[in-house]
């Protein structure tokens, strides 16, 4: 469902490729033992290697390599048995070595594919070109002193995975779906926390436009897009800019542009004259990285069930719709919660009932209260208890909502609340019969009307009985008794 833009010269197609930098979850950096904890005091997590002191040498963090392989497998990619670390040379104050150790022509992970979910319920495959490992730079701070810049090297040397997609993305919605799915996969794998606001996941968006069927247009690379929303906004702006430029007779320049979230615009970051020649070459301090098929397979064996697999299983095993399944698998903890809520020996109806309760009631109230699932006052176990009460007709669905509200407020379990408040559904035919008799006796006029053909009044009688029983009468018993007596 490619989004086409109507311009003066006809329809325009948006072509997007993304480069995502994901900080690898690891206790220490890519080539040093320094800590990677976020938010520590400036320059408190810097080893001699990170500061590029004379004679210091990088030593590869093997756990990070496993994380990269895990991620590669999670995005259905080829893992390269041999990869090479290369130096990307440039000068900057927050780049102590004067080069970034990265991977250039031999990355650890090759081609793969990520399935994205579109709003209309369809899916689309976005191909991944590569994933490579590289060091992060430090952070320059220009606002701490009137004439000097300060440098914090805590981030210097942290491991990043750069995940590069092919230009298969066709508009802001697909871009948002891509980044969301990728982030979901990384979080499932535990290889990146995906926190875009802390900078542990950053995206560069390569955007071009063309008339459908034409060759690829010249792309601009947009940096500094730090949220899914910003990605969409930046794409909207940049696409409009490029179309206007071309239709006014201009040409798009291949350049890096910065997204300004305040002015809501992209602007040119560096001119051609400053274009870097990074002088990549294999880092002679590191040997080529060899990974055996056995290693790859043993890592594959540790992979968790991934979002798409889970979604398909929820649809297949529990009979859920695509939407419900997608909502439930969005976070691994949510999916786990849902699965613990489903009662033992459940059929499809029970599973759907559980899905409704998790999505509509639980997630609804959590969202309203801005409470994360991990801090929910209603545990999965106690929500399961409530659903069991509904399922075995102890309480009706309507009463259950009141019970749930009480559970959320007090943290008590459903059974206790039902017991305390005497909310047990009445299934005793004798008791209900007495109420039915009472209702019939008190509403002779309506009885006449019903008997003379006004069928719709049946609902009125049910309502009256339920009211008298304070909602506790079993609706099935009420129905059959009323039918019999009227």
């Amino acid at each position: 469902m490619a989004k086409l833009i109507q311009g003066e010269s006809g329809e325009w197609e948006i072509v997007i490729g993304m480069e995502v930098h994901a900080q690898v979850i690891a206790n220490s950096k890519l080539f040093s033992g320094a800590s990677t904890q976020f938010g520590a005091k400036p320059n408190s997590q810097v080893s001699l290697v990170d500061a590029a002191m004379p004679g210091m040498l990088p030593v590869l963090n093997e756990f990070v390599v496993e994380q990269a392989i895990k991620t590669g497998l999670g995005i259905n990619s080829v893992i390269n048995n041999t990869s090479v670390f290369a130096r990307k040379n440039y000068f900057y104050a927050d780049l102590p070595q004067g080069y970034q150790i990265s991977q250039f022509d031999q990355p650890i992970v090759g081609e793969g594919v990520i399935e994205i979910d579109l709003e209309d319920g369809t899916t689309k495959d976005i191909r991944v070109e590569r994933l490579h490992l590289e060091q992060d730079a430090g952070k320059s701070m220009h606002d701490q002193h009137p004439t000097k810049s300060f440098v914090d090297l805590n981030r210097s040397g942290c491991a990043l995975m750069e995940i590069v997609s092919y230009p298969d993305i066709r508009g802001p919605e697909e871009a948002a779906a891509y980044i969301s799915k990728l982030r979901m996969i990384l979080r499932y794998l535990g290889t990146c926390d995906g926190n875009m606001d802390e900078g542990s996941m950053r995206a560069d968006v390569n955007i071009s436009v063309r008339h459908p069927g034409d060759e690829l247009g010249t792309r601009a690379e947009i940096k500094n897009v730090n949220s899914v929303k910003a990605i969409q906004q930046a794409i909207d702006f940049e696409v409009a800019r490029q179309i206007e430029l071309i239709e006014d007779g201009g040409t798009v320049v291949q350049e890096t542009r910065l997204w300004d979230p305040v002015k809501m615009e992209t602007r040119s970051m560096r001119s051609k004259e400053e274009a870097h020649d990074y002088r990549y070459f294999p880092d002679p301090d590191l040997l080529p990285l060899h990974v055996s098929n056995d290693q790859i397979e043993s890592i594959r064996a540790t992979l968790p069930e991934l979002p798409d697999q889970k979604k398909h299983r929820f649809i297949g095993d529990y009979g859920l719709g695509v939407y419900d399944a997608s909502v439930l698998i969005a976070e691994q903890a949510r999916a786990d919660y849902y699965e613990s809520v489903i009662p033992d020996g459940a059929n499809d109806n029970d599973a759907k009932l559980a899905a409704n309760w998790v999505i509509n009631e639980l997630l609804g109230i959590l969202k309203k209260n801005e409470t994360p699932l991990s801090q929910s006052p209603v545990s999965a176990e106690s929500l399961a208890g409530l659903i069991t009460l509904i399922k075995d007709d102890t309480i009706s669905g309507k009463i259950a909502k009141d019970v749930f509200a009480e559970m959320y407020a007090t943290g008590k379990d459903a059974e206790t609340i039902v017991e305390e408040k005497g909310l047990k559904q009445v299934t005793d035919t004798g008791a209900i019969e007495a109420i039915v008799d009472e209702v019939i006796a008190e509403n002779q006029g309506q009885v006449e009307a019903y008997r003379s053909g006004k069928d719709k009044l049946f609902g009125f009688f049910v309502g009256q009985v339920m009211k008298k029983s304070q909602g506790k009468a079993n609706p099935g018993v009420v129905n059959s008794l009323l039918k019999e007596k009227l």
Partner: protein
């Protein structure tokens, strides 16, 4: 020269054990000799107080029966090895005043065995040079002199280390060899020195010049002393990914003197045009000595030899251009302030680096640039592989290779300065083995017409320093090189 400063390390260890003298006496003798030989400019930083302190601790260890393999032996440490609390300059202005808070693995190993540090030896700036004339702290003078009285170079880049050992102001020294920086100065100074297999000694804490070539090694006045020093320095280091996790053999144990049946390869390509007759003679003498000792002489071919120098002068500068990017004035060393970051960089580096370093950074930057990378760097890497294959093939026919170490004896300061290419030719015999990562040793076997020492080079298979030592030991015995630098002779007289 005193009796103590003229001892070999192995004899000094015996003397210390026999309580003939103490480590403090031994160290003090070398400190005094160093004072007298200050004119050589062999040291950038002398550490006499630290040396005496270490010597006292050594005497205490020996008294307690806990002496290490090199306990009490005073050494010169090339000022490329970072030493905890002692200024480390790489002979560059840009690192002047830099005091590391860490100890290189090689020096840590030596100190763990009880070695004493007399000071940080002078060298060519960032180990770039073949005459020790590029040091910011002044050139080093060879203790050997020629009849015309001109000051001679000690060779480079480890010129200070070689001069110190030859002048008896250190019993041994560490060096580093990237393209010949141990072997050529050893030959020029009439002592022996070995560059082991790449990966034998850790590079951690050694200021990098060209990472894929740099390798630490030793200088001493006997083959056996080199074996003792290298034993201590060698070994796997998890902090250096290119250091090899291979057991270190007993080097001194290889000094059997027996070379019967040893196959010695003589590469025809090393008979370069215009080779001085006396170098050719030296080579023939060396061949004859080994033959007499029972070795078998084999003619071999290393067909890509002539490409070694140009290959080296692409790869080494390319790596150096990147390795030296960290000297940017931001975190340590010299800084010259500028209007903005770029100006600070250019002013700092313009002032901090000398001409030869700048030249190599520029060559290397050019060789790695987009559009030239394939033609230079990639091509050079391919040729490097061919050169390594030459050796692999040759070693199917022989166990070691014998060649001259350098194409001439030490030359006068300034003699080769005008033409960098002529200077680079000094490395013509040493560079190929560096490119192949192979061990090589130089030992003095004769004198030229001017009475200056000449060295022979023994190259070995990877990880086979033992055979190199064994051959060198036999050649040392046969050559019986006893000549001394004129200054030492004068002192003795």
């Amino acid at each position: 020269m005193t009796d103590l400063t003229n001892l070999t390390i192995s004899d000094a260890l015996k003397g210390l054990d026999a309580k003939d003298f103490t480590a403090v006496e031994l160290t003090q003798a070398h400190i005094d000799a160093g004072e007298a030989a200050k004119g050589l400019n062999a040291y950038i930083t002398e550490t006499p107080e630290l040396a005496i302190e270490q010597a006292k601790a050594s005497d205490a260890r020996r008294a307690a029966g806990k002496a290490g393999a090199l306990d009490g032996i005073p050494l010169a440490i090339k000022d490329l090895f970072c030493t905890d609390g002692v200024q480390t300059t790489a002979a560059s202005h840009i690192l002047e005043g830099f005091v590391p808070q860490y100890e290189s693995t090689v020096t840590a190993n030596l100190f763990a065995d009880g070695a004493v540090m007399l000071g940080k030896a002078n060298l060519d700036e960032f180990a770039m040079g073949s005459a020790n004339t590029t040091s910011y702290f002044g050139n080093v003078i060879n203790p050997w002199t020629r009849e015309d009285g001109k000051d001679l170079v000690p060779g480079g880049s480890s010129g200070g280390s070689a001069a110190a050992v030859a002048a008896r102001i250190a019993m041994g020294a560490t060096g580093t060899d990237t393209g010949g920086s141990i072997r050529q100065p050893a030959a020029f100074c009439g002592i022996s020195g070995i560059k082991p297999t790449y990966g034998r000694c850790s590079r951690w804490g050694t200021v990098a010049f060209a990472s894929s070539l740099d390798q630490a090694g030793t200088f001493a006045r006997s083959v056996e002393d080199n074996a003792l020093l290298l034993q201590s320095m060698s070994g796997f280091d998890p902090k250096d990914s290119t250091s090899a996790d291979i057991a270190v053999p007993d080097f001194a144990g290889a000094l059997t003197g027996d070379v019967k049946g040893l196959r010695v390869g003589i590469p025809k390509e090393y008979k370069v045009e215009g080779m001085p007759a006396e170098i050719e003679k030296l080579w023939e003498d060396g061949i004859a000595m080994l033959k007499d000792a029972g070795a078998q002489i084999v003619d071999i071919s290393l067909p890509h030899t002539k490409y070694a120098l140009p290959t080296y002068y692409i790869i080494a500068p390319a790596e150096c251009s990147s390795n030296l990017a960290r000297y940017d004035g931001v975190r340590f060393g010299q800084r010259v302030e500028g209007e903005d970051l770029n100006e600070m960089y250019s002013k700092t580096r313009a002032e901090g680096f000398g001409d030869e370093v700048k030249r190599r950074i520029m060559i290397g930057t050019y060789a790695l640039s987009a559009g030239y990378y394939d033609a230079y760097y990639i091509k050079a890497q391919k040729v490097r592989r061919l050169i390594a294959q030459d050796f692999d093939k040759a070693y199917e026919q022989c166990d070691v290779i014998l060649t001259p170490t350098a194409p001439s004896a030490a030359f006068a300061i300034g003699e080769n300065e005008g033409d960098p290419i002529k200077m680079y030719l000094n490395d013509v015999f040493t560079v190929p083995a560096s490119l192949a990562g192979l061990p090589g040793m130089s030992i003095p076997t004769g004198l030229d017409a001017n009475g200056l020492p000449l060295g022979m080079q023994i190259l070995g298979k990877a990880w086979d320093e033992e055979t190199v030592f064994r051959t060198a030991f036999a050649l040392e015995k046969a050559a019986n090189f006893t000549a001394l630098p004129q200054s030492i002779v004068r002192q003795a007289a």
